[in-house]
């Protein structure tokens, strides 16, 4: 069963809303960062490689 009587109750968390939501927001943001960093790193690595190969072909 859902633990809250209304959606407002869910958001305010009985006066603990600021603590609960900031802990979840920060935690999930840092998790997302951990997931995105290796993807960006891979793209940068492949960009560098293709740029270098294009330059070598022109020489």
């Amino acid at each position: 069963m859902i633990a809250f009587a209304s959606f407002t109750d869910f958001l305010t968390m009985g006066n603990h809303g600021a603590y609960v939501w900031s802990a979840y927001g920060l935690g999930l943001a840092l998790m997302a960062l951990n997931a995105i960093l290796p993807l960006l790193e891979k793209r940068r690595y492949l960009d560098d490689l293709s740029r270098r190969r294009r330059r070598e072909r022109l020489l």
């Binding site: 069963m1 859902i2 633990a3 809250f4 869910f10 968390m13 009985g14 006066n15 603990h16 809303g17 603590y19 609960v20 900031s22 802990a23 979840y24 920060l26 935690g27 999930l28 840092l30 998790m31 960062l33 951990n34 997931a35 290796p38 993807l39 790193e41 891979k42 690595y45 492949l46 490689l49 293709s50 190969r53």
Partner: protein, 251 residues
Amino acid sequence: MNWTWFYKWGSPKWFYSMSGKFLPWLVTASVLLLGIGLIWGLAFAPPDYQQGNSFRIIYIHVPAALLAQSIYIMLAGTGIIGLIWKIKLADVALRQAAPIGAWMTVIALTSGAIWGKPTWGAYWVWDARLTSMLILLFLYLGIIALGQAITNRDSAARGCALLAVVGVVNIPIIKYSVEWWNTLHQPASFSYSHQPAMPTQMWLPLLIAVLGFYCFFGAVLFARMRLELLRRESGSRWADAEIARLLKDRI
């Protein structure tokens, strides 16, 4: 006992192809488990009779703190394997897991601080559990910095492995800090020998969130290790073939 799996998993080429097969399953499992565990914990678990709704921070805090310690134990394990058998893959695993461990420690410390304010009246106290977790963060940062400071790859691997192995002494200190010293921190939520002191509606979503965090770690670690292996092994036939395939897929 058949040890061939040990040597197979030590081969970069083998690891690259196997991890590629596991990766999508780990991603799916972590999205599902984290989604179920966190939504259940946020909206469906009953409020705590003393802490009210602030206790819901447990579903972020405990998995992150458990994972932060498990990753450090893994670092020490790969450190020993790297020091004894000189397996390159062990060094790749150690160095790629360290930043994830550091981030998990940051999540555990910040969510704990936010939880501390309504529960203890302070964001931070110099208590044994909190201080030993801060030391864990410094150990992670030390390993990352050491790896970046040493340019010779073998020396960097040896240095990081040694620091990881020596630092593991901090893990039992974190675990038993709540028993050895007077502390504000509550005791462990899970134990092997006792039923959890929470109702099922509270600990089951916590268990699911913990599993989700571990799958998430597996997925991120594999993604990081695969890229690092391509970097280190470029020039070998399998890595160059894989790089060519990746470059062709982009156009």
